[in-house]
């Protein structure tokens, strides 16, 4: 019984269709035989989709359906049965004869593999490229005249300003999460707040020495857009970096605090958010924001 496209069948996740049949849970099979000796163990558990072990395996055969390499045979065209068969489940329309020239890369509309991205599939295709973030301490070594992605989505409000090292934003900043907190709601949960009670900024020991910052004291982190005030955690775990011959420092800001929360309501925090600092610059394909690499300056508050 397979999924049909006439509305008579229903599937929560088509990849797993066929993994549990009248024979039971095929995922719990433990057959150790490997007749092809290719490491395809067709009866060990169940591989999605349809228990295929190697995707696009029709590509292992030539235009006539004969395997390129006769000794490890994955799948092949059987003229007598008028069907594709093999040691693996064919990733192909079983009765499509080789003369029909159906492409083996069945998930691509063009049926063949891709060396580059066809028109329209990626906003910044056809090849992948390395770009610097919008706020970067250096020009892109590959192409300095186009350092950052030319088709990132940006906004045009007053807050959409970007800073440079020359303007004084000489510290690289990144944001991240803690094990002890989750997003913005655990700041309301006494257990999580007991584990990590207050927001902080992780500062490398060498940078802290230079700026006269001591662990536990408030610091102000400023970007071209806004400010963030919290206590400094001075650490030796973040080492200075050498970027383009210059020594640069990176600081890290966990995101989990905001306007309201147990510590916030007790007046223990400055009620600033990490994402007041970050630039709202958005990847044109995945729509992720550039919250992990931007420039700031830091000082004692």
């Amino acid at each position: 019984m397979w999924l049909k496209d006439d509305g008579t069948t229903l599937s929560g996740n088509w990849l797993y269709c066929g993994s549990w049949t009248e024979a039971g849970a095929l995922t719990q099979r433990r057959g150790t035989e490997d007749p092809s000796e290719l490491g395809i163990y067709p009866n060990w558990a169940w591989s999605w989709p349809a228990n295929r072990r190697v995707l696009y395996n029709r590509a292992s055969c030539d235009g006539n359906g004969k395997p390129w390499d006769p000794s490890p045979r994955q799948v092949w065209w059987d003229e007598a049965k008028q069907s594709w068969i093999g040691n693996d489940v064919p990733d192909f329309k079983a009765d499509s004869t080789p003369k029909d020239h159906m492409g083996p890369f069945i998930m691509n509309p063009e049926g063949v593999g891709r060396l580059f991205v066809p028109l329209g599939a990626m906003a910044d295709g056809p090849f992948s490229e390395f770009y610097e973030p919008i706020e970067s301490p250096i020009a892109n070594p590959l192409h300095p005249n186009q350092s950052s992605n030319p088709v990132v989505k940006k906004y045009k409000t007053d807050l959409d300003k970007y800073g440079t090292v020359d303007q004084g934003f000489n510290v690289i900043c990144t944001t991240y999460r803690l094990t002890e907190h989750y997003h913005y709601w655990t700041k309301n949960n006494p257990m999580n707040v007991q584990l990590v009670p207050e927001p902080f900024v992780e500062v490398p020991a060498e940078l802290a020495d230079r700026m006269g910052i001591r662990g536990g004291e408030n610091v102000r982190v400023t970007s071209a857009r806004s400010q963030y005030v919290a206590k400094a955690m001075v650490t030796r775990r973040i080492r200075p970096m050498h970027v383009d011959g210059k020594e640069m420092f990176q600081i890290g800001i966990p995101i989990h605090w905001g306007f309201r929360g147990i510590a916030e309501d007790e007046g223990k925090t400055a009620k600033t958010l990490a994402n007041q600092l970050t630039p709202t610059v958005i990847d044109p394909n995945a729509y992720t924001r550039e919250f992990k690499g931007f420039l700031v300056k830091i000082e004692r508050a």
Binding site: T179, Q194, L195, P197, G215, G216
Partner: protein, 301 residues
Amino acid sequence: MSDRRTLQVKQMSGHSGEAPGFGVQREPEVCKLIDTTICIGCKACEVACVEWNDMPFGPTTFDNTYQTMPETRWNFWNLIKFNEHQREDGTVQWLMRKDQCMHCADPGCLRACPADGAIVQYVNGIVDFQQENCIGCEFCVSGCPYDIPKFNPATKKVYKCTLCSDRVGQGLEPACIKACPTGCLKFGTKEDMKYIAEERAKQLRENFGFAQAGVYDPQSIGGTHVVYVLHDASDPERYGGLPKDPVIPWSYTVWKWLAKPVLGTLSLMGLAGVLMHYVSVGPRRPQPEPPLKEGTDVHRG
């Protein structure tokens, strides 16, 4: 917090004679194995302990570290201690060690405790406080070489990790072991845990370049029922102040094993002497009054 119905008592504090029911049941010695080389400092064990023992949350403050609080508390029995250890070559090793009662084979807390049955050591090695017998003298706090028992001024009792005697008594593993996501916490017989620990230490020495890796099971207190695998067993101090050769303060040994029996005997002998004098020589006779001095004007009679 214990399960005296199912766990066999080996020795009790301040108790004359043998522990009740001694020799009735045989039990293997249990052991908690903590592999500091795998711990990721996620604090799941801290949370599991607080949740299982239904302990109230307490306030904490940011102290320039990921460590939840400086030491264990009456309501926080197990704490990951963090230390950014700097090696000679300048690189940093971030050490994390789960700190809690070590359940010593020769417990300093038990030796120091004057209250009958306030501290109990079971045959399986678990050292448990019986708060109903505790008199709140805090001698156990100074008797412990690891600074573990903590006093609650509100209830006037002392508290510490119980090695989940209530769970172990029912054949379950302690809550912290159940919560640990990396498998760095293991529970089983002392023999098994020592074997696993020594194999892991050997692996660290031979395959991972930790020439000083070893197992922490200090014989200076007869061994412990909580055992660590350390990257550098020659310097346990760097793991948040783990004492290298812990000893029970000698004053408690002198008090309990010397002063108490000697002075107890002497006072019994003194009492016997008084009694014998009364019996043989007789009770106190009325004493003649001393002669008056010349010139004094005191009324007599």
